[in-house]
């Protein structure tokens, strides 16, 4: 399995190493650096790199490469998934608490994912149903593909060994799910109820997927008119966006980004609301729109100046959208009730819904 682990930061320094068997010299990372050089961008570094004596399997997160050194055949996903889990743990550990003196203690509990003797003065359980829409919208505004990736993230601080059940108004929506190991699979199979003894604190209870075969509501539309002309070095740029199927909720936190072709020198734009930035080096346009007011649709208009002498770009840029809609799960999923067994106190319970754009692209 994993022989050694190296952590490499953005500037290419190995700042941490750990060896589980004998020590592997950090020079093995040279092969990794070579591959990194060959790949233009960090995300194009192949996750699996063979070297004469080892295999390097890496994940890239938070601008850090976690490079595992492997000596023999192993399911690559085993290592990759494990590395991601390590990163999650780091994030959890360093993200929330101050790096204190207290080392976490290994504890054997009857329920492996929950420590014993949990005590709180305020007992509370919050569940966030978060759905992300992945979509590709074509030039004419019709949906090429759209799917929903949903999760239920929980924040549970309950004393003792509570046993929770969570039921849905329309569990039928969830036909492609994966669970936290605490969920009793058989109960789900037979009754479509989530029954579980929760881990303490933050955890992802469930993720689900509503596939492209289903109809997915698209909450925003984008009208665009982007044109470059061969003759002049000026192009036109105009986008307007508005709400579509929002179930009466406000679309907020809207952010538009678009990668302009290399030949674009600069952009002179006026937004009707929000702020916009064009980075002439990376050619990235971003427009922080904010809320969409259906009475006054946000727009961004202006001209594009192209490098003189180059021909017009083949392709119009793709528009990437981000947005949020509070109190709405776009798939229509609704939690019916949350019950607690096994403990006597009355916990404070809360459910929140949210829809976000995932990988939401509009081709122009």
């Amino acid at each position: 399995m994993i022989h050694s682990l190296f952590l490499i930061n953005a500037s290419g320094d190995i700042f941490l190493e750990k060896h589980w068997k004998s020590v592997v010299s950090r020079s093995v990372c040279d092969y990794f650096f070579e591959a990194q050089e060959r790949a233009s961008e960090a995300e194009n570094v192949p996750p699996v790199i063979p070297t004469p004596h080892h295999y390097l399997l890496s994940v890239y997160r938070h601008k850090i490469f976690f490079v595992a050194v492997i000596q023999s055949e192993v399911p690559p996903l085993f290592v990759i998934e494990f590395l991601h889990r390590v990163v999650d743990t780091f994030q959890d550990y360093f993200g929330s608490t101050n790096v204190g003196d207290q080392l976490p203690t290994g504890q054997l509990s009857v329920v492996p994912w929950r420590r014993t003797g949990v005590k709180y003065t305020n007992n509370e359980a919050y569940f966030d149903v978060i759905e992300e829409i992945d979509a590709i919208i074509d030039k004419s505004g019709s949906t090429i593909t759209a799917e929903i990736q949903g999760v239920i993230d929980a924040y549970v601080k309950l004393t003792g060994m509570p046993d929770l059940t969570l039921s849905f108004m329309n569990p039928r929506l969830l036909d492609d799910v994966s669970f936290h190991p605490c969920v009793r699979f058989k109960r789900w199979e037979s009754e479509r109820i989530l029954s579980f003894i929760p881990p303490d604190g933050n955890f992802r209870l469930l993720s689900y997927h509503v596939s492209a075969q289903n109809l997915v509501a698209i909450p925003v539309y984008v009208k665009h008119n982007i044109s470059f002309r061969d003759s002049s070095s000026l192009g036109r740029f105009e986008i307007t966006m508005g709400p579509k199927q929002t179930m009466g909720k406000t679309v907020e936190g809207v952010m538009v980004t678009s990668q302009m072709p290399k030949s674009v020198l600069n952009m002179t734009l006026t937004p009707s609301q929000g702020t916009h930035v064009f980075d002439p080096v990376t050619k990235l346009l971003s427009w922080d729109v904010g809320k969409i007011n259906p009475q006054k649709l946000p727009s961004l208009k202006g001209s594009v100046s192209l490098q003189a002498g180059t021909s017009k770009p083949d392709e119009n840029p793709t528009i990437n959208l981000q947005f949020k809609i509070q109190q709405l799960a776009i798939s229509g999923l609704k939690v019916n009730r949350l019950d607690m067994y096994g403990e006597k106190y009355k916990p404070f319970k809360g459910i929140k819904y949210m829809t976000k754009a995932g990988k939401f692209q509009v081709r122009t």
């Binding site: 690559p76 996903l77 550990y93 790096v99 054997l108 994966s178 009754e191 692209q361």
Partner: protein, 1100 residues
């Protein structure tokens, strides 16, 4: 292999300080001169040494943190070894942990000094705390000092029989480490592996299989007997263990079962021609084919038990199941993995990369699997290039006549992508679609020709190359395109593209007779400046023109040949010489030149445009080798299916409990050698599948006895003094067993016993149906053979279930085999296995049987006996309200009458009442929706219920020791009503009686994780013994254990399904409180029971 929750947090503990260190003095400049760094380092080390000598733990801890930080940063901290190693015996657990981390890193370098610490570990290996034992073993096996190999070996052996499954897990981890340190230990290690493979803890399973894979993957004989157990444990093993086990079982299955694909093959051929054939049609076909092939039940077991894991949150687990289905499932079933794999595509880029690679390989062979998910592979502009190319590859594989137009439209977008590398790949893809789907060849060709006017050279060049290949497949009528391309030659500079155009013009020079010589003229001029690749094609063009049109081109060709003769590249010079000899006739050239035209202008086969993933399928999916497309070190080849399956009986021996559980129902599998003679001939003749599943005879009582033995051995080895009672009772039971053997050797005798047992149980049961039921179901079991797998598992399962029910009536025989006593028998419960510490089980008989045996003066001398509970709760639960039942009302209550439907069924009395003024006819149970493993024994249909009338029927439900709901339909002649029964946990028990001494002994073995307790309030009026007893027994089906102390009340029971002991103690304390303690291996049920008993005594 450090996956599960436990080691996980342990590792967290190790990793954390390393990072913590990083956070604090991370600013240490790494750039300055080496000298400066060095001196500051030694200085620092001095103060570290002082801190380590300090008497304060806090200083030591600080020092250790900094040292571990140095290690993590890759700095040399070896000179601190003597100072650090002194602290190995520190009482402070935090310091200890960090010293361990240090030792693991440097012990190999300083072996002599490291030896100083060994005795500390040896002591720690005997520590009462399992965590300390485990970590001592971990460190001991991690310090790579060859001299201590014997000590390690000994420690591993001892740990492998430790009471704590966590320590045993660590023993399995240590095996791999010792093996890599000293491969000579292999044989001894295999022995330990063999032992640990038999372990029934889910905690151990993954780790030991990992050790097996590292040390002796070829010893599949060790797996046979554990196969079913592993299959059944799988769902409850931690995720990382699941991956390892699934991969191992995939290999195993390929050596043991016959191919399920032979049946499919015919279908497949058919499929290739029409892959649109509707599913139904195909299913029909499959069904027809399958009548000749029956899947080995063990093969089916593996497929069935891995399927739920597709729902895992862990991508590696999902992938492992997917590859298992790919390599083992009938082709018609492999499709179920698609959805889950597609779901993984939302994951991180690395996961996507691996999953897409595997899908690419799959989609070549079986398009149909992923066709419905076509759109999930559409490319986003934000995807990394490697992901884009893989998606494109899959889209190309999935292209067919139906979706090609959509796909081509999508491809058009990709061609325009700013990522030119990806655009080029798209052009290749279009080319492949064009050759594969003849309907669109022309469309694609035209599209590609349009691309020739693209501004980007890479795009044009790629198009040229692809067009060249396409034209070759369709050489006729494409003169125009060739002309167009000839014109391009003036502008295009990419060598491959130029070479391709030249080749095309040469090959089809007769179609463009005017242009070709002109092209040669132009290129002759530029010859010296061309790339080698282009030069070779100029020579080719010259040769071909010379042969077809020598009049116009003779001189030009000779000019080119002369240029080639003096070229710098020997390749070019070589080719020039070769061509000249062939085409220019002279005395020396001989016979060959006559055929020059045939040689140069032969019909050339069109190139195949193939997927680069075409040749990957010989690697097992999901492996590193598959990802790299080359064999990685340690790759284990997946063997071909055997022509004839090896003897399947190697698996069905020994694991009495397991064998039966593969059907998820009651069955009594046969014990290896001894029991055969106990069977009547007729049973022996029963068909294979039925006999493997159910004709065995390992009964509960027997296996429990085995367990008990195991437990007592453990006990003695585990350094606690073996109590005399245990030896006594053991020999007692042996004696009695022997006695019984004498009785039962004679078959007819056993037959008599059986009949008696049946007769008695019939009398006792309120339902008169049980006997007849058994007979009829027995018949159906014989009939089920032919349709066994192909039709439906549940069907055959049911019938087997019934057969085994019948056999259950006579486990008398099973108790009589003294030989089986010294076998290691595992009693596993696959439904909710809890980390079982090796704990002895009491020999519990099914209650009815116990009573019968008493009557036959065969009374067992086992310590614990099931009693019949006198107290029956009066509480009834509503099953169906009369309003929703259209006048039919139903209630149920738990009658606690043991053993009506076999010893794993909880009897439930259902009372139906007719509140209408009409007769209600034919009340029966309809469709059942039970969680897997759960079974139900229906009551006999009630033919007619008069208005106002009320009838009581008894049914049995095996809840598998869980409080899961049994849902089913209550049907009348005209209606169906969905109803549910959810058992209170107290009804999942059967009361047992035992002596106080036995109780204490058993309790002593169920401590630690197996104990839950709570302090409860006791209302003053409830503190009388009688009242406590009454209340507790009412709340849960417990047996009262006589108690010598007034303030302590003890109750005992076993769980209905698995027969695990459940010990309840109520210890009255002062001021109206009491301590409620529950000891059981079934910790989940235990904690639920604790919760339910809590309010019982506090209420007034």
């Amino acid at each position: 292999m450090s996956g599960n929750g436990l080691t996980y947090s342990e590792h967290g503990g190790e990793a954390a300080p390393e990072l913590a260190q990083e956070a604090a003095p991370a600013v240490t400049p790494s750039a300055p001169a080496a000298f400066g760094l060095f001196s500051s380092d030694t200085k620092k080390n001095e103060d570290l040494k002082q801190m380590l000598e300090s008497s304060k733990d806090s200083a030591k801890l600080d020092a250790m943190k900094r040292i571990v930080g140095m290690i993590a940063k890759g700095k040399n901290a070896s000179e601190l070894f003597p100072a650090v190693v002194k602290n190995v015996a520190s009482k402070n657990i935090e310091i200890k942990k960090l010293v361990y981390v240090y030792l693991m890193r440097y012990a190999e370098e300083q072996q002599d000094l490291a030896l100083l610490s060994i005795s500390t570990f040896q002591r720690a290996l005997k520590d009462p705390n399992q965590l300390i034992r485990a970590s001592a073993l971990r460190v001991l096996s991690s310090i790579r000092v060859p001299i201590i190999v014997p000590i390690m070996m000994l420690a591993i052996k001892e740990a492998s029989s430790d009471l704590s499954p966590y320590v045993r897990k660590n023993a399995a981890h240590a095996i791999q480490k010792l093996y890599s340190l000293d491969p000579e230990q292999k044989e001894m290690l295999i022995e330990v592996i063999e032992k640990l493979l038999k372990d029934r803890s889910t905690l151990v399973a993954g780790s030991v299989v990992m050790a097996f894979e590292e040390v002796c993957p070829d010893r599949i004989d060790l797996i046979h007997k554990n196969y079913r157990k592993l299959c059944n444990l799988l769902v409850d093993v931690e995720e990382w263990g699941q991956v390892v086990i699934i991969h191992m079982l995939t290999r195993y299955a390929r050596t043991q079962f016959v191919s399920p694909w032979k049946v499919d093959e015919v279908v497949d051929e058919y499929n290739e021609n029409n892959f649109y054939e509707s599913d139904e049609e195909q299913k029909e076909k499959d069904q027809k084919m399958k009548t000749t092939y029956a899947m080995d039940p063990d093969h089916r077991l593996l497929l069935r038990n891995t399927k739920p894991l597709l729902q895992s949150r862990n991508a590696a687990v999902v992938m492992a199941v997917a590859q298992l289905y790919w390599h083992l499932a009938p082709k018609s079933e492999a499709g179920i993995v698609s959805k889950s794999l597609v779901r993984l595509l939302r994951s991180n880029r690395e996961v996507q990369y691996i999953v897409l690679q595997n899908i690419a390989t799959m989609s070549i062979q079986r398009k149909g699997m992923f066709e419905p998910y076509l759109k999930s592979f559409y490319v986003r502009s934000t995807d990394p290039t490697m992901i884009k190319t893989l998606k494109l590859e899959i889209l190309t594989n999935l292209a067919n006549e139906a979706n090609i137009s959509t796909l081509l439209r999508e491809f058009q977008t990709y061609v325009k992508s700013q990522d030119k590398q990806f655009a080029a790949a798209t052009i290749q893809a279009i080319g492949r679609c064009a050759t594969n789907i003849t309907e669109v060849t022309d469309t694609c060709l035209n599209g590609l020709v349009c691309l020739l006017s693209n501004r980007d050279e890479i795009v044009v060049a790629e198009s040229v190359v692809v067009i060249k290949k396409l034209l070759q497949t369709q050489p006729a009528h494409h003169g125009e395109i060739i002309k167009h391309m000839a014109k391009l030659l003036d502008n295009i500079t990419v060598p491959v593209a130029r070479a391709s155009i030249l080749w095309l013009i040469g090959e089809y020079c007769e179609r463009v007779p005017k242009i070709a010589p002109d092209v040669l003229r132009k290129t002759a001029k530029s010859f010296t400046n061309e790339d080698d690749l282009v030069k070779l094609q100029i020579l080719n063009l010259g040769a071909k023109l010379y042969l077809t049109n020598s009049k116009q081109t003779k001189l030009l060709t000779q000019y080119v040949l002369n240029l080639g003769k003096y070229d710098q590249s020997y390749d070019i010079r070589d080719r020039t010489r070769f061509i000249r000899q062939l085409i220019v006739p002279n005395e020396k050239s001989g016979a060959l030149s006559k055929y020059a035209k045939k040689i140069f202008l032969a019909q050339k086969p069109a190139p195949l445009l193939e997927s680069p993933f075409k040749d990957r399928d010989h690697f097992q999916l999901g492996t590193l080798s598959h990802t790299l497309n080359s064999q990685a070190t340690g790759y284990l080849e997946l063997s071909d299916w055997p022509e004839v399956a090896p003897d399947p009986s190697v698996r069905n021996v020994e694991m009495a409990e397991l064998a039966k559980e593969w059907t998820g129902i009651l069955g009594k599998p046969k014990k290896e050698k001894p029991t055969e003679k106990f069977y009547s001939e007729s049973e022996e003749e029963e068909d294979e599948s039925a006999s493997t599943s159910s004709s065995g005879s390992g009964s509960d009582s027997e296996s429990e006895k085995e367990d008990k033995e195991e437990g007592s051995t453990d006990e003695s080895s585990g350094s606690s003094s073996p109590s005399e009672e245990s030896t006594d009772s053991e020999s007692d039971s042996k004696e009695s067993a022997a006695k019984k053997t004498c009785r039962a050797v004679n078959e007819s005798d056993s037959e008599v016993i059986k009949k008696k047992a049946e007769g008695i149980s019939k009398k006792r049961s309120t339902s008169s149906s049980s006997d007849t039921e058994y007979t009829s179901s027995d018949e159906s079991s014989t009939g089920s053979k032919s349709e066994s797998d192909s039709k439906s598992d549940s069907e055959s399962g049911k019938s087997r279930n019934a057969t085994s029910n019948k056999k259950e009536e006579k486990p008398v025989q099973d108790r009589k085999n003294p030989k089986t006593q010294d076998m290691f028998l595992l009693d596993l419960d696959d439904f909710c296995p809890v980390t079982p510490v090796a704990v002895p089980r009491a020999a519990v008989l099914s209650p009815s049987l116990a009573a019968d045996l008493e009557g036959l003066s065969l009374s067992s001398s086992s310590v614990i006996d099931v009693t019949t509970q006198a107290c029956v709760p009066t509480k009834t639960h509503e099953l169906l309200h009369r309003m929703s039942g259209k006048g039919l009302a139903a209630h149920y209550h738990f009658s606690r009458q043991p053993g009506i439907f076999g010893d794993r069924m909880v009897p439930v009395q259902v009372t139906v009442t007719n509140t209408t003024d009409q007769k209600i006819e034919n009340i029966h149970i309809g469709e059942k929706k039970l969680p897997p493993g759960m079974r139900m024994h229906e009551f006999n249909p009630i033919e007619c219920l008069e208005p106002g009338g009320s009838l009581t029927a008894t049914m049995g439900i095996d809840f598998c020791d869980s409080t899961q709901t049994a849902s089913f339909q209550l049907c009348t002649k005209d209606d169906q009503f969905n109803v549910n029964i959810q058992p209170p946990v107290g009804e999942l028990l059967l009361p047992v009686t035992m002596s106080e001494k036995d109780f204490k002994k058993e309790q002593g073995m169920l401590t630690g994780m197996n104990e839950t307790s709570a302090t409860i309030a006791v209302a003053p009026q409830n503190s009388a013994r009688l009242i406590i007893t009454e209340r507790v027994v009412k709340a849960a089906n417990l047996g009262v254990v006589p108690s010598g102390q007034d303030n302590i009340h003890r109750f005992a029971a076993k769980t209905v399904h698995s027969g695990s002991l459940m010990l309840v103690t109520v210890e009255l304390k002062e001021s109206s409180t009491a301590q409620l303690i529950i000891n059981t291996e079934k910790t989940v049920i235990g904690s639920v029971l604790l919760r339910e008993l809590k309010p019982v005594l506090s209420q007034g």
